[in-house]
């Protein structure tokens, strides 16, 4: 059965190869190849899932050894896959949501002349992501890790003719590279510490512990922190979050799949997978929780201020992943819930993005929510699916977000001590803000008066991103309309998932039991009872929604953004984080390189050229002695003879 793992990855990889190498002759049918292959790998995933369910809880780990990859003395890296409950979960999420989004893209990218390549990239992403979650050692994981980075680079910059897109892509890759540096250092540390970096030996299973037990805590903390750095990069956590907002330059399906549902959650996967290491390094865990808490607030605040619907959702993504990281940082208390929230979030956030995409599709690719309004009657399906996703994310009782998020908040409190209170508080606050900005999005988009009627061309300040730009769509007054089936069906499916997912997982702790053998679990001692916390969450939710209603529901939304408070303006600029980067890193870097280029020429090169010139000058001066007068030559001979004699005598003297 484990022989199916390789095909699982191979299918989309094949798709990518075919589509990218195939050339124009595949332009017509190309996208279907992509869709089919992604569904194939989803099917394989389901088969394997069924197989796992068939096994006993303890024996749900399949490994497949393909070949030994880098066999160098003392350094063995193999291409081996490991399918256990954790990676299974991801496989299903990735292939499932992935396939849906493939389908959606068929409609969404219909007008794009480079659609074939788009699907090639999407397949490439699937393959890389699957490799990431199925790898059996950190080095192979690293391959997938950078693979998804590459795919995201290619897809963010898919409309390369737009400088903004190209820049965003580059930025994403670079920021991720910083994270990758962390990962590679972590691997080196593991190698020097354990002499291996394969999951089995290092982490062990929860029956017999791995080498982790033998290592000093300092080493483990170092490793854990490096892993955290990696996670920050990939999952857009503070301080490496800056790329996610710009990543919205990519086509919306990309934002949905890569920058909401799957890739950005890889960081969480990394932390949960490396749980054994983190458990042994409490300081590192604290750092993780802090990062998570900060990010969940950071993202939420940013989300409140954005008028670009995708950027608003991006902020929300950031914040939701903040929740997951926070949970993952809590250790065994939180791992399961982190993953659970990750999955549910996968559903509803993907759904939300697809909804946003659908809206933009109907609105001539307008992204400014201030030019929306009252769209619910024009695109009912979108409205309903989006609305369900909305309810899910704010944690409306009974929907999936409610279960997963609530558990995380509980876990945060359960951490105990002051940290517990602080983290829990942050989580609660986050919940309130989430409710606020999501309501804001909802209201601005689907309710209120139709601000797009009198809308002239979209503001040139924010050039349109979407395919119309490719097809040179003319900007007359938009005619909002529902999207084609091929787009709405995935939205509906996801909506279903986001409604029932949470309940399905939580009732009877299905998810917990499923994942526990891998991640382990223990119930912390919550200072408050679950009921109280749930109540508090509800209160926050209501408050958030109410404020949003007060601000955007009751009074009309101005078509141009008001100047807003200092915080608002900062939030619009991603809390000035980019400006910081620009001033410190970009400018500083430019100066550094410029001065180095100058030095290389003037100093390093100059020394050599200087010596050469020196000899030249010396030569020119000595040359003068050769003045053409025989008598002066005679003088030199005479002098020479005298010196010779003198020197000889001197030699005898001494």
């Amino acid at each position: 059965m484990e022989n199916l793992i390789a095909p699982l990855i191979a299918a989309p990889l094949l798709g990518a190869a075919v589509l990218l190498v195939g050339g124009r002759r595949l332009d017509r049918a190309g996208h279907w190849i992509g869709v089919v292959l992604s569904f194939v790998s989803f099917a394989l995933g389901l088969v394997l899932f069924a197989d796992l369910l068939g096994k006993g809880a303890g024996h749900r780990t399949l490994t497949q050894h393909l070949f030994s990859w880098i066999p160098v003395a003392g350094f063995q890296a193999d291409v081996t896959f490991r399918l256990d409950q954790l990676s299974m979960t991801f496989v299903l999420l990735i292939t499932g949501v992935g396939s849906l989004i493939h389908l959606y893209s068929v409609g969404y990218m219909a007008h794009d002349e480079r659609r074939r390549r788009f699907f090639g990239y999407l397949n490439l992403f699937l393959a890389a992501m699957l490799l990431l979650v199925l790898a059996d050692n950190y080095l192979l994981l690293y391959v997938g890790w950078e693979g998804v980075g590459l795919a995201s680079y290619l897809l963010i910059g898919f409309w390369q003719h737009k400088p903004s897109a190209a820049t965003a892509a580059k930025k994403a890759f670079l920021v991720n590279r910083v994270g990758d540096m962390g990962l590679s250092i972590a691997i080196m540390l593991m190698f020097t510490t354990f002499g291996s970096f394969a999951f089995g030996p290092v982490l062990g299973t929860h029956e017999e512990p791995g080498l982790v037990g033998d290592a000093s805590e300092g080493r483990l903390t170092a490793i854990a922190l490096m892993l955290l750095l990696a996670a920050c990069g990939k999952s857009a956590q503070v301080p490496l979050q800056s790329w996610l907002g710009d990543a919205m330059e990519g086509p919306t399906p990309v934002s949905a799949l890569i920058h909401a549902a799957t890739m950005v959650t890889a960081g969480v996967y990394l932390i949960v997978r490396s749980g054994a290491i983190f458990n042994a390094a409490p300081d590192a865990q604290l750092a993780v929780t802090v990062v998570g808490a900060v990010t969940l607030l950071f993202g939420a605040i940013v989300g409140c201020a954005k008028d670009d619907i995708k950027k608003a959702l991006a902020g929300s993504t950031m914040s939701q992943i903040g929740y997951m990281v926070l949970a993952a940082g809590l250790g065994p208390i939180g791992y399961v819930f982190a993953i659970m929230h990750l999955v549910t979030h996968g559903f509803f956030k993907a759904g939300l993005f697809l909804g946003a995409g659908s809206v933009m599709h109907g609105m001539n690719d307008e992204v400014d929510m201030r030019r929306y309004g009252g769209l619910r009657k024009y695109m009912p399906v979108t409205f309903i699916t989006f609305g369900l996703g909305y309810l899910a994310i704010i944690g409306f009782p009974g929907l999936s977000g409610f279960f997963s998020k609530d558990k995380i908040i509980e876990a945060a409190f359960a951490k105990g001590g002051t940290e517990g209170w602080i983290l829990g508080g942050a989580a609660l606050l986050g919940a309130a803000i989430t409710a606020f900005y999501m309501t804001r999005v909802m209201l601005m988009t689907f309710f209120g008066e139709e601000r797009w009627r009198d809308a002239p061309t979209p503001s040139p300040a924010e050039p349109s991103v979407e395919p119309a730009a490719e097809t040179g769509g003319e900007h007359t007054e938009p005619h909002p309309h529902e999207s084609p089936k091929v787009m709405t069906i995935p939205m509906i499916v996801l909506a279903v998932g986001s409604v029932f997912g949470g309940a399905f997982f939580s009732i009877g702790d299905r998810f917990l039991n499923w994942l526990e053998p891998v991640t382990g679990h223990d119930h912390g001692d919550a200072p408050l009872s679950a009921g109280v916390i749930t109540g508090a969450t509800m209160v926050c939710l209501v408050v958030g929604v109410a404020i949003a209603w007060a601000q955007y529901g009751r009074k009309p939304v101005p078509a141009v953004a008001p100047r807003g408070s200092l915080l608002t303006r900062a939030a619009r600029r991603d809390l000035l984080q980019d400006d910081f980067n620009h001033v410190v890193l970009v400018r500083g870097g430019e100066h550094l390189t410029r001065s180095l280029v100058y030095l290389d020429h003037s100093l390093v090169d100059g020394v050599v050229n200087g010596t050469a010139a020196g000899f030249g000058g010396l030569s020119g001066r000595l040359r003068r002695l050769q003045n053409g007068f025989a008598r002066s030559y005679a003088v030199s001979m005479f002098g020479g003879a005298a010196l010779l004699v003198a020197a000889t005598l001197l030699m005898r003297a001494v």
Binding site: L622, Q626, G628, M637, L644, A647, T648, L649, M651
Partner: protein
């Protein structure tokens, strides 16, 4: 002061001269020299009696035959073991017949032969009034630009005297490294110098420069030989004899029969040291070592290029040979006195030659300075004072001389209206015009620069190895540095030839007769053979590495 000596002098004078036993001369062993000198005399007679139009051919014929015969004689002697086992001193202690002598004589003869070919070249200069002319003055006696000169040119005169002169010079050179007493040394020195002085003055084009070169060379040469002679006088005063063996004994203090006069002078080291220094200085002048080098650039530039080539090659060989013999046979006892001094000379010679060459603009002057630098390298080998040192120097000289003649032969090919175009700017883009010539010249330059797989590298390696073995590591390092500097200007010429656009009014490359081709071919051949498969010649030099005492 010893009255006995005086008395003896009187008495010997008073005694009736019974009989003087005739000196014993091993003609066979001196045959190379004798052949060459004899041929020179024949050449003089030819000048006197053979009609003008056939002189050239007669001269060339005689010279070629003589040189070949002499070379054959050298080979025969060497084969007979005179280089190794039967090495001894011939002609009543005047001339040594041993390995170094034979090796150098062979080299000189071959170099002379090749030089002779360039002398005899008659295709390069445009045909003047229907008769081919070589690169020597139509009539040396006639004033440049005068009617008589024009007349001479119209009549198609050529100075065929150059061939006997060349032979005389070669004769002197053959004796020079073989001379085994100071008197022979001095005479040989003059015999090789005087013809060269004259040859320098005989250029067909640019005669003013030619004459100037001759004057400078002559005056400075005479000046130098005066020093040499004085040095000889002092050494004679010190040792009471001019024979190398005797002086060496006296220096080492191994002399048996010490009469009071000798005892008196022996005590006076100043005589020895000053004398030795002056003598060495005379030889350093000939090899063109700093600071006795200043004649080199001017003379090399002014002299007719074939002469320059011959001079640069053969004179160096002969002079270094003499220097070696002097230092190894006569003054080994003084090693600790002269070595430091020679170190200094070698170092400033290597560096000086290389540095000054950087800014030269005339190809002949450039080569002159490069020859100075090479003199420095060879000196490094001389200083090694070991058998390896000797053989390495011999090897270096053999390789160097042919490359030099070849290089100057190439210089004769590049001509414009005013004769040879020696200014570097004229060489721009030569590689585009005639790649072959440029390539050949590049090979020579690379050999000078000591790039591996050329004779230059093998020689340099041999010399430096010997020096390092002899403990002169600093010398090796200086040598390496100056080679790096030297490389720069050789490369410059190559750049000029290949990478810069040819000038529209640039020079043309004359198509030479087989003679010059032979000379150049010889150069290329030796460059590559000695570069790639030097072992045989190293063996030769190795066997020839021992001086007879």
């Amino acid at each position: 002061m010893s009255t006995t000596a005086v008395h003896s002098l009187w008495t010997t004078a008073a005694e009736p001269i019974t009989k003087i036993d005739a000196p014993k001369i091993e003609y066979g062993q001196l045959s190379p020299t004798l052949i060459v000198i004899g041929a020179a005399l024949v050449g003089v007679l030819i000048e006197a009696f053979v009609p003008r139009r056939s002189r050239y051919y007669a001269q060339v014929f005689v010279s070629v035959v003589a040189l070949c015969a002499a070379f054959a004689a050298v080979v025969a002697l060497a084969a007979d073991g005179y280089g190794t086992t039967k090495a001894h001193i011939a002609a009543m202690g005047a001339i040594a017949v041993d390995g170094p002598a034979l090796f150098l004589q062979g080299t000189i003869l071959l170099a002379g032969l090749v030089g002779l070919f360039t002398f005899a070249e008659r295709r390069l200069d445009p045909v003047a009034h229907g008769n081919r002319v070589d690169s020597f003055a139509a009539q040396a006696a006639s004033v440049p630009g005068s009617d008589s000169e024009k007349a001479a040119v119209r009549a198609g005169f050529t100075t065929t005297e150059v061939f006997p002169l060349l032979l005389f010079a070669i004769g002197g050179m053959l004796i020079f490294p073989a001379a085994n007493d100071l008197l022979t040394l001095f005479v040989a020195l003059e015999v090789l110098s005087l013809p060269l002085y004259l040859l320098c003055a005989l250029a067909r084009r640019k005669r003013l420069m030619s004459q100037e070169a001759a004057v400078k060379y002559f005056l400075l040469g005479a000046f130098a030989s005066a020093f040499t002679l004085f040095g000889i006088a002092l050494l004679y005063g010190y040792a009471g004899s001019v024979s190398y063996a005797r002086i060496a004994q006296v220096v080492d203090g191994t002399v048996t029969d010490v009469d009071p006069a000798l005892a008196d002078t022996m005590g006076n080291d100043a005589l020895l040291l000053i004398g030795g220094a002056l003598l060495v200085m005379g030889l350093l002048f000939k090899v063109g070592a700093v600071p006795f080098h200043m004649w080199t650039p001017d003379v090399y530039q002014g002299a007719p290029t074939p002469v320059t080539g011959f001079m640069a090659a053969a004179t160096k060989v002969a002079a270094f040979g003499a220097l070696l013999r002097l230092l190894y046979v006569v003054l080994p006892g003084l090693r600790w006195d002269w070595r430091p001094v020679m170190w200094a000379v070698a170092i400033i010679t290597m560096l000086g030659g290389a540095v000054v060459a950087i800014t030269q603009t005339d190809i002949k002057r450039l080569l002159a300075y490069s020859s100075i630098a090479h003199a420095g390298f060879i000196l490094a080998g001389v200083i090694a004072t070991s058998k390896d040192g000797v053989s390495s120097v011999l090897f270096y000289l053999a390789g160097y001389s042919f490359v030099t003649i070849g290089a100057f032969a190439v210089v004769t090919l590049v001509r414009d209206a005013g004769g040879e175009a020696t200014h570097l700017s004229k060489w721009a883009g030569l590689g585009r015009r005639s790649p072959l010539v440029a390539a050949v010249f590049a090979v020579f330059l690379l050999a000078f620069a000591g790039i591996p797989l050329t004779s230059g590298f093998a020689g340099k390696f041999a010399v430096f190895k010997a020096a390092a073995d002899g403990g002169a590591v600093p010398l090796v390092i200086v040598g390496v540095i100056s080679s790096a500097i030297a490389a720069f200007f050789y490369i410059r010429v190559i750049v000029l030839m290949f990478f810069s656009e040819p000038k529209p009014e640039g020079p043309t490359v004359a198509v030479p007769s087989p003679l010059t081709m032979l000379a150049i071919g010889m150069g290329v051949a030796t460059t590559l053979v000695l570069g790639i498969a030097p072992q045989y010649f190293l063996d030769l030099a190795g066997q020839a590495g021992v001086f007879v005492r």
